[in-house]
Symmetry: C2
Subunit: 225 residues, 2 copies
């Protein structure tokens, strides 16, 4: 499998799941502004995924998956069932997992983060409206986590990988949504930041993010990557 | 099962799937502004779904599903397999279905329609930014439908029910996204508007939408519903 990712994009969740599941995956690092992929021909990412986004997953049978909900379900399903990353099909827990994956995708990622961090420079009023959308879903997550270790109960699932990524981005200066009013969310975040898979991916992507030159579109445009 | 819906909200897709699958379902009509549900106590919807949104589905075993991706998968899975509303689990087509469901949910519904039709009065700049987001996903859908009858190939699936709803709303005056530049999308829409399930639900919801008094928040607030 090949996973197209970009440091601190939502593909971070897919990388965490690959570690949790011990999946053999080749990582292809993309710059979301220029769409260039390290070591690949111009246009490689857009050819696979016309939205030019990550995660984009090329499966061993040639299936190309985009959209994190689909990618995370696919990756979780490749893990041994006892890891508990995705519940068995047709169980109530399975539909509940899809529900929470979609909740993160729509109410937090797309409604808030996608606009605040958009590369096409939204008007400040659009970003302000997006930030204002965070309070309601965060309250719902707070209530959900008050008596649970993870979104689905005790076990870490692919939905937690996605939520963790979103929670890491919300308080960053560009977004500025504080998690202080949500003690259960904060405790959940602290707890899961200690997971080996999460620590590994955060360390790797932090390093890449700070790598001089890589993460600057100007250097890429000058062909220096 | 009980399906909480509101005329022309995205629960329209869930109603279409219930018809396609001949599922016995009780319909509970909600006003999204006041959150009141016809014939039910104050707060009934918010108690089930703290986001106060539709579709909210109460399954026969008590499971409460929210988020259209989860609701549509659940309903499609209740239909006989030969209806083809959802492909079998663990097949490439199944993950592709989840991909397209999520694509509609994030790139069209949440990115464009949710802001344009929001009840909390977004700034005009936020709506303009949202409308501008429609072109890229519509181009992707146009390309996808150029040689296909439906999103997954020949057969109508739950992802088509969701996309059809989105395509009905995009050109409405409040949103104003023309489908003229997308001939394959227009042909797809025309074709599927002829389906018996779609015609039935559109007729029912058009009637409800125009029902004097119901759809006005003021009458509901005055206790007149």
């Amino acid at each position: 499998m090949k996973l197209y990712y970009s440091p601190f994009a939502c593909s971070l969740a897919a990388r965490v799941v690959c570690r949790e599941a011990d999946l053999p995956v080749s990582l292809c690092r993309a710059d979301l502004q220029t769409k260039r992929v390290e070591g690949q021909a111009e246009g490689a990412l857009v050819h696979l995924n016309p939205m030019g986004k990550v995660p984009t997953l090329v499966c061993d049978d040639g299936l190309v998956l985009t959209e994190n909900v689909a990618v995370l379900l696919y990756l979780g399903d490749r893990a041994p069932l006892d890891r508990g990353l995705t519940p068995a099909e047709r169980t109530p827990a399975r539909y509940d997992l899809v529900r929470w994956l979609t909740f993160v995708a729509t109410e937090i990622h797309k409604k808030v983060l996608a606009t605040v961090f958009a590369l096409d420079e939204p008007a400040e009023a659009a970003k302000t409206y997006a930030r204002g959308g965070a309070a309601q879903p965060l309250s719902v997550v707070e209530e959900r986590l008050r008596d649970r270790q993870a979104l689905l109960g005790d076990r870490f699932t692919v939905a937690d990988a996605y939520l963790l990524w979103a929670l890491l981005l919300l308080p960053r200066p560009q977004c500025g949504v504080s998690l202080d009013p949500y003690p259960a969310v904060r405790a959940y975040l602290e707890r899961h930041l200690g997971r080996a898979s999460v620590r590994h991916v955060l360390s790797a992507e932090s390093h890449e993010y700070q790598e001089p030159g890589w993460w600057t579109a100007s250097r890429l445009r000058a062909g220096g990557a």
